[in-house]
Every structure is written in C-alpha cells, then in structure tokens.
C-alpha cells in the first residue's frame, strides 16, 4: 500500500478536521457546532486540494508554455469546487434551522432543546 507522504499540508488539514470534530462532539451551543462543521469542511477541502498537489507544478490551465505534464491534478479542484458549494448550501440551511429553533425554544443549548422537545 502506498502510504502518502505526510507533509505539513496533510497535517494541517487533518488537524482542522479534528478540531471541527472536537467541536461537534463536545460543544453544547448550536452556533458553535455549526462553526465546527464549517471548520471541518474547510479541513476536508484543504485535504482534497493537497492530495492533488504535485510538487513544483503550476495551475491546470492550458496556456502558453503549460501543458498537461506541467500542471497539478485538476480532479480534486473540481471536487472541491463542488464541495464548497454544497458546504455553503448546508451551512445556510443549518443556520436557518438554528434561527427557527431559537424562535421556538428560546435557547441554542442542545441539551436544553432536547429536554424541551416533544
């Protein structure tokens, strides 16, 4: 199996994911959980981009002097473009849900919302 070379990019991206995960698991405030989700998302996107990076190559736009062999992997970039859009959409929806929840229960603490439920 090909173990990827652990560079600073990987380390940073995975750290971001873990920080986000920590927030999702431990924080009680709904807004903080949403922020953590966003951080996680950023981490994932960074990780995807850094997987596609080839050392010393330039952006994958075909132009003067840059052919397919001189460019970094374009597929993760397309993936991340999609993922960013999805992430923004889910965040927007989650935020509107949070607004509704706050209007209904008067709190953003997940424990209390659970207790008030039903």
């Amino acid at each position: 199996m090909n173990v990827p070379h652990i560079s600073i990019y990987y380390f940073g991206a995975i750290s971001l994911v873990l920080i986000g995960l920590y927030g999702v698991l431990v924080k009680k405030n709904l807004m903080k959980i949403l922020i953590s989700l966003s951080i996680m998302e950023t981490g994932v996107n960074l990780l995807l981009i850094s997987i596609g990076y080839v050392s010393g190559k330039s952006a994958p736009i075909l132009s003067e002097g840059i052919g397919p062999t001189q460019a970094v992997d374009p597929i993760p970039q397309a993936l991340v473009l999609t993922a960013i859009v999805i992430g923004v959409a889910t965040t927007a929806m989650a935020l509107s849900a949070a607004i509704i929840i706050y209007e209904k229960y008067g709190t953003l603490n997940v424990e209390e919302i659970r207790r008030l439920r039903g």
Binding site: L21, V24, L25, I33, V110, R114, R117
Partner: protein, 616 residues
Amino acid sequence: MNEIPIILFTPLLAGVLAWLINLRGVRELIGVIGAATPLALLAKLYPSVVDNPNNPITYQLSAGGFQVTFKLGTLNWYFAAIASLVGLAMAFGMISTSKSGYDWLFALMSYTGVLGVFLSWDFISFFLLWELMTFASFMMVLKRNRHESLKYFVLSVIGAYSMLLAIALIYAKTGALDFDAIRQALYMDAMLGAIGRGETALIFVLFLTAFGVKAGAWPLHVWAPGAYSETDQSYTTFFSGALSKAGTYGILLLYILMGAKLYYALGTFHGHITFAYIIAWIGAITVVVASFLAVLQEDIRKLFAYSSVGQVGYILLAFGLGTGLGFAGGLFHVLSHAVFKGLFWLVTAAIILQTGKTEFKDFGGLAEKMPYTLAMALIAVLSLAGIPPMAGFASKWLIYEAAIQAHMPLVAGAIFLGSALAFAYVVRFLYAVWFGQRPSDLEDVKEAPLPLLIAMTILAIPNVVFGIAPGLVTNYLNKALGGNVVSGNYYKLVTQTGTYNALLVAIALVMGIAIAGLVYLYGAKTRKIPVTNTYQSGNPVTKEFNLSIRKNFYLPLAEALAFWLKYSFDRFYERVAQLSEDFADALREGFYNGNVQAYSWYLAIILLILALWGVL
C-alpha cells in the same frame, strides 16, 4: 392408480372447497366427505399392508428437482389410520360446534399435514408437511386467542429450526434425505464412526427438541394447555388426539433412522441405552408434572389439556424403554390415547356447546339432561383411568409390564403415580359435572346435537372393542414390529411377566354390575329425591365447608405442593421473554436517544476503531 396422493390431499382439497363455497350444509358435507375418504382408503389398503410388511406401497413425486417419497408400511399405516379415525370424528363434531369456513379450511389442512408426516419417507416432504400441520393448527388457535397462539408459534418455531438444523447436519454428513438412504448410511457409520460423538449427540438433541415440542414433552409443554383449550373443542379432538402423535412418531423415527448410530456413539448408562434412557426420563417427568398440574385445574379444558400432555408422556416413556414390549405398549397407547382423549374433547365440546360454561364451579347434575353424553364420558373416563375392559387399560398394562421388565423401578413408579393422579382428576370431572346439585341456570340444558353424538360414538366403539379384544391391536403390532412381542389370542395378552384376559375381566365386570343392579332394584330401600336436594343434606353450606368437588377440591394437595408449584416453566419462559424485551428496550433507549451529538460520537468512535484496525 396409487391411493397415497388421494389419501393425502383429499382433506386439504375438501377444506379449500368448504372455505370457498362456505354455505351452511354444503360446507359440512364436503368437509365430512374429505375427512372420511382417507379412512375409507386406508381401510381398503389394510389387506395389502398386512400381507406385505416388507414391501410397502410407495408413491414418488418429482417436484422442483427433488424426489419426494411417500410410503405406506405397517407402522405408517397404523399412525395414519388412527389419525384419520380421529379426523373423521373431528369432522362430525365440527358440524355442531363450528360455524365458519375458516375452521373447516384449517382443520382439514392440518389433517393433511398430519397424514403427510406419517406417510413421508424423506425429510423434504416430512418437513414441509410438518410445517403445514403446525401452520394450520396455529391458525386455529390464532382465531380465538392471540396470546396462546403466539406461545404455540414461538415454541413451534424453535422446534422447526431445531429440526431443520438436524436435517441439515444429517444431509451434510451423509448426503441423503431419503429415510432408507439415511438409515443405511447411519447404520454403516455406527461402526465406522465418521460422524463424531458430539455431532451425533447434537443431532439427537435437536431432533428431541423438535419432536418434544410437538408431543408436549416437559419442559416444552407450556404451549399445550393454552392451545388445546383456546380453539374449537372439536378440533382439539384432532389436535390432542392425532396431531400430538406426530411428536411421538418422530421419536420412533429417531429409532428407525439412527438407533444403531446413537447406541454406538453414546453407549450405555447403568445398563440402559443412554439415549433411550433420556427419552424415558423426559416421558416420566412429563407424566408426573402434567398429571399433578391437571389435578389442580379448575377449568375442564385446562384439565384435559394437562392430562393430554401427561398421557403423551406415557408414550414417550414407553418408547424410551427401548424394548419390543415398550414399543408395543407405546404404540398401543398411541391408539388408546387418540380414542379416549378424542372422546373426552368431544364430550367437552358437547358440554361447552350446550351450557356455555367451562369451569367446574358452574356445573353439576347434568346426568339427567345429557344421558348419552354421560355414557360416552363414562367410557372415556374408564379408558383414561385405565380400568378394564377399556383400551386404556390394555395399553397401560403393557407399558407397566415393559417398565418392570426393563428394570426401571423409578420410571415405573412415575407411571403408577401418574395413573393414580389420572384417576383423581377424572373422578372429579365425572362427579362435578354430571352428578350432585344442579345450578338453576342449567335447568334447560338439552342433549348434544346428533352429529356430535355420532362423532362420540365413532370414538367410543374402538375404546370398547380394543379394550375387550386387545389382541386385535397387539397382533397387528407384532407384525409391525416384526416379531412375536406380545403373544396370546384376541382376548388374552401374554408377556413374560404376566397375563391379562380382557374377556374374563369384562364378563366379571358386567356380572358385577348386573348383581349390583339387581341389589339396587330389589334389595335397597330407595327413595327418589330431586338432585337439587342432595347437597349437604339440604343444609346451607358455610364458608369453611365450601371445599366442594366443584371448587378447590384438591386445595390441600395444592398446599402440600406449594413449594414445587413455585417453580413453573410457564413463568420461567415469560420471565425470559420479559427480560429480553427489557434488555432490547434498554439498548434502544440508551443508544437511540435522539441526541445528535451522541450519534456523532458513535460515528467518530467507529471511524477511530476502523482506523486503528487498519481499514482506513
């Protein structure tokens, strides 16, 4: 033209037709014809079965790539004939007691299932028809009582899976599903020992579970009291009289298929064949436990249900003795239990139909109102209690002889105890229902309707005939078992330890009754008093004396047994069911708690585990 498919499938066809047409009169006619056809054909085939014991009638069917075999040998014929006799009586009884096509469909469907189990000669058809029988009887109970049907269903499923596993094991080891091939393969393997001791024991235990459930053997008997009482009582005639025999037939099959293998694999225990010894003890415990519980019941249906469990215990016990005489006694008891317990359930059906009551405390003095049913009940009581000259005596006598000859004093003691208890509960039934003071709301009870009386007569005749001439049965059994197990002539049974002359006893009994009748007619000073006047000499009954035969009659016995009655398998199973339900509830409420953060934790933990494991 081969008769076997007609025998097998006429009841089912008739049941479907009766259900589809479902017109009063037509439905009953079709049902009775469907129930009578197997009996008529089996009677017609009797000579050829008896004349060629080594060359049974065979019918083969190729379905879905499987070869399915049915055989009508001496042993199969015996069981099938008993089932169809009881089936015919059931059909007559159902004319009176059942008003729906649903009942006819499933009653006759289970009839086909039982016949199929008795005639199958390979495990495919055996298992399929076994399940058909279970399904149909389950549907009969389901219509009346969901809780009891569920109990029956769960235990039947346990039995069915055990059987399926055992069949799979045998198939994996021998590659055969046909009984002849399995028998041969296992017989050879008895010497070779290719199938290990543990596997043989496992197959034995699995089969024992499967057949024990159906026979109502302790401790798997808990479904029987509920299921027998919560269904059409005419159907219970068949349910308890014939369907429960499928389990005992299975035990017999165990001997036929793997007797030698089990003997060599498991060896002997204190001079008895180990596996047979286990069966004998299960039978003995069933007899004692079920008879004690039967004595303590306050409901007629429950009493006979427990009694039925106990009497099937006798059959298991007799088969467990493993001697020729034991088989003869057990097989004879299959017949006599089918006819006397069938008769009992028909009598119960008549009583419940005419009075609408089921508990002893509501009965009394019915003898004047239903004299013919009383006569039938008397025959059944004499037969069950084992009083000559009824079929029940001859069969129990053979079992006693066999137990004594097999040198199993404790097992023999269990039978004696069971018989004494049987006497105690039938006497109570006889007195509490038929004699004594009659409650005022039973004043306008009428005799049972004619079809029910015909049904009772159908089952009463064999009780008397095979009681006075037990040789008719034992001669046939000698042929079926292939040896002169019980000698004697039609009226006399001779074994190594004793002789029983049924005719002599019958004549003595009739003469005794005649003398007593003469004394009663001419000698005794009799005064005719109404039955409502005999209770406590006309005095009002105070509370301390209210230990009448109708209510709590065996209360002292219950108090003496209080220690043992604390332990009940019914309650044990219910507790196990409750515990597993609670456990599942706790699991669900603990983990599926509606907290999104908890689910995130599960996800994170699972990812961590997978990562540590090296999957990610």
